[in-house]
Assembly symmetry: C2
Amino acid sequence: MERKITFAIEGMGNVEISAIAGENILELARKANVAIDAPCSGNGSCGKCRVKLLEGEIESRITRHITEEDYAAGWRLACESKVGESDAVIMVPDIASAYRSRMKIADLTDTAEIEIFNTTKTEIFGTGIATGTKLTKVSVELVEPTLDDAMSDLERISMELEGQLGEAVVPTHFAVSRLPKALRSSGFRADCIIEERNGAKYLVDVWGADEEHKLCGIAIDIGTTTVSAVLVDLESGDILAKASSGNGQIRYGADVINRIIEATKPNGIKKLQKAVIEETITPIIRNMCASAKIAKEDVCRVTIAANTTMNHLFAGIDPESIRMEPYVPVFMDFTGFYAADVNLPVNPNAELVIAPNIGSYVGGDITAGTLASMMWNSEEMALFIDLGTNGELVFGNADFLMSCACSAGPAFEGGDISCGMRATDGAIESCTIDKETLKPSLGIVGPEGTKPIGLCGSGLIDMVAEMFRCGIINPLGKINVEGERIRSDEYGMKSYVIAFADESETGREITLTEVDLDNFIRAKGAIFSAIKIMLESLDFPIEVITKVIIAGGIGSGINIKNAIRIGMLPDIEHEFYSYIGNSSLSGAYAMLISEEARDKVTELKNNMTYMELSSNPNYMDEFVASCFLPHTNASLFPSAMED
Amino acid sequence: MERKITFAIEGMGNVEISAIAGENILELARKANVAIDAPCSGNGSCGKCRVKLLEGEIESRITRHITEEDYAAGWRLACESKVGESDAVIMVPDIASAYRSRMKIADLTDTAEIEIFNTTKTEIFGTGIATGTKLTKVSVELVEPTLDDAMSDLERISMELEGQLGEAVVPTHFAVSRLPKALRSSGFRADCIIEERNGAKYLVDVWGADEEHKLCGIAIDIGTTTVSAVLVDLESGDILAKASSGNGQIRYGADVINRIIEATKPNGIKKLQKAVIEETITPIIRNMCASAKIAKEDVCRVTIAANTTMNHLFAGIDPESIRMEPYVPVFMDFTGFYAADVNLPVNPNAELVIAPNIGSYVGGDITAGTLASMMWNSEEMALFIDLGTNGELVFGNADFLMSCACSAGPAFEGGDISCGMRATDGAIESCTIDKETLKPSLGIVGPEGTKPIGLCGSGLIDMVAEMFRCGIINPLGKINVEGERIRSDEYGMKSYVIAFADESETGREITLTEVDLDNFIRAKGAIFSAIKIMLESLDFPIEVITKVIIAGGIGSGINIKNAIRIGMLPDIEHEFYSYIGNSSLSGAYAMLISEEARDKVTELKNNMTYMELSSNPNYMDEFVASCFLPHTNASLFPSAMED
């Protein structure tokens, strides 16, 4: 028999859907297009998909994320609940669903980003890379038709363009559809947008000379978690608008592997493509165009920096081979891709310039980011680390580049950590612990007085480093003290109370468990072991590095000293470290206003070696050695023992 | 206040729509997507939009098409009725709505058509025009990827293709989206569909070598009234399926002028494009692909022969300039147009090859038809007449070609004639009249025993010729006899009863009025005067014509002797006349399987003169002289007086 399930979304209203007994509540929410944050993609491990039963019954159970008390109050994990024998009303808390609007995102105001975006208009990064794309604007003044000169609009403009350009121009359907109005709006004077493609010149658009238009482009960074974009005047290079939001795919899992698994389900590719294009990028583009008063059709070029899986899902291309041995993507570099192919709400002829991928787990976000890192323009041995939902590394200089991906997992973005969360309001982003009282002092995202909800990546690094410094945990991440902040469950698993129930926003205790610590240590171990293996494979010691460039959402808040103390980052001089913000978007911006920058990225991709860590025979050993605070070989981290 | 109007469509079920008092019933039906045949586009003149009020009230009136008796029985003209003060249930008779399924259409079984379609596979029409398109199939066998050879699918296939073809191939989004499945279905062996476009080679599609595919194309004739198409195996030239249906735009008017007027209303272009693509061509393509068991993506080339307005509306391009002085279309020839541009349900990369237009009123149907007429391949002076919703003429031979359009109007397809109808079941398609009794003998479309409903084009020609022969009408088309079959109304307007109420399908008398006769005579006069003016402008007498090629839906049924008798066609030997069926579709078929044929059509278009009749100073005089049976100059039709 059919049940009616009502999702009461906090601050948003109700959504009703019919269901049958036994249907999974998280799946049902997805079907009803109700966003419930589920970083672990519904396998019960992250505990983020808490919902509250208001009326009726659903089948559920007490789990490590839902205490008896929680259960009695109506709390359930959506992923572990099923439609029962009655209708039900289920409250979806704001925290679980509204991450999109409150996400703390790269706002493009970071100094390093500004430097790149304030590049001179004719040269990018001061490296001799000239600006300018294959789009040109050609003005025409045509003789108006008469009864004796009844040539069609298209013949009329084509003849004039051929005269001016010395070759025939290929019309596009969109340009022809705009032709009659453009010509008649302006006494048969028009500006033609022409683009060279594969050796021929194409008529991309036609603007009446008296109409208001501006030749624009959009650069987009599609992260697994966050999507950011800039709207740019292609002639001046000026940024006209900026926007960001959470990636709507998040409800299908926090990491790329879960997204790929969702994509392989029936109609999955379309579903994930829709989540990122229709639900995420389309509103971003609309908002930017509206705020800059630009017609969406004036956007004639779009650049995209994204990891390999995001690139595939954006393009609507089956990503399954990415996660199946031998881990081969469908494409690395893909030219010949246009806005109309994916219904992006810009000029349908806008080329979608995708920063090329290096491998299945090092994508265009890294090639574009490498461009922005400038490491390719110096003899200095540099390490570029992009800490997003996954961690990717590039090591090298002007002579060579090597890249790899470390499966750090989603710990830095709140996944796999019971009290983990993304860097939205209420996230603890920094922390110190008093060695005597073991009481933490917390830095919290949000307005003055915001109460803590959980830990984001940078807060987690600080928390672990401080717990280690204060002796709360041993090098294995096991809690080895007692006190009012130390809890122990029936199985002997211990946890540290970061905030008591009355101190937290949710009224629940915020604790870090030994399981969380274990997950985190594996994540930081993955990063360090990747750095070490990559350098070893080139016969370089860690000390060869004289520059570390950190990029990505988590980066800005990282306390380098703490990251070194826990053995996550190499123990080199703190001055060697720099942060360049959203390098992926910076690179995409450069590719947007400069065809040469685009070619440079392709060159970087062609010259960059991709190292598959998992096939390196030393990797497992090094990983295990790195899953220790700071490392089994403590001599690698001499500064870790300083107070 | 809102009213509920229910359209009870005979044999189809009910459609409900909310309306407000005063809304026009025909407009309302269109809004509700209920097809009501309205050849005059709702100006009250054709009387075809009869509906029957079953319940409630609507505001309407008695007109020349709705007698008092009709009115009492509930009959109303939809175009002259408005929503009243109550809800209403309105019956839409099968006759008015179901023309689509019952239309007698060119079924491609005509001898002349068969001759063209049975062209040898390597040469078309025996004229040395070679078959073959720019589409080629290239087979590849790729090395399967391994952990040590993790090149992406696209790089892998691109490298192989570049090796085979000696140049880089440009991937398309669709081909890339098909790549992973194609390669993995068949052990990395695949067939690549490659097309040359503007000097570069494009990857249109990729088929797994073990998958079932056939390289196909579709030729479509988009008539103002009827759409016909063939699905063709591009490699063999074989026709795999055929289909036709009425043009769904018909509810927006019978002729191109009314369609253009509708298109200029808000959202009109989209609406008319949807009517022809989504509602008409899409089902045709689906049906053909289903019956031939062809995947729609295997259709990689589409050719279209259509008049200039139909071309514009198909492409979704504003046709307004066609009907505004100086009568300039947006395009004549348009290459660079693909299925994805208009969401045609075939391979999105399929080029839409449009037979080029000559002018605003001589379109691609005529250039394609001229190819099929073969007149360009002979020294013989030939006249090609396409009798569709409008009439178009081409005169000439291998040395020159001249074309013009005559505004014959919709009389031959049932418009402007009170008892006119299209050639569906119940249409009188031929007739003789007994000179003594004035009783007609009717040939009726449909199974044995079908009762008459009205007159279609060929029946109308016979009827007028016979009425003239029997002396029922004088040379001006005025009825000048009395008798039981002659009616006279209160204003003195006479009419001839073709069938009494008890003889007709509808139970209403079928009559031909003097107004009908006047409309018809103007239509036939338009055709003959166009022929005469065109020849005169070249200083040729009528007798120079030794070949008349008739094409178009109406053509097959025409009694040449009668058409000459009424002064519609030149009085030359009957043997000079031939009928070639749907020449527009035949031409589109040739262009489908032969790039050379396509080039030939472009050449014909470039060499063909377009004559704007209305700007010829003698045209009005000649037209007036032709509006007479057979002509004011009877010596032009010596055979007209034979019995």
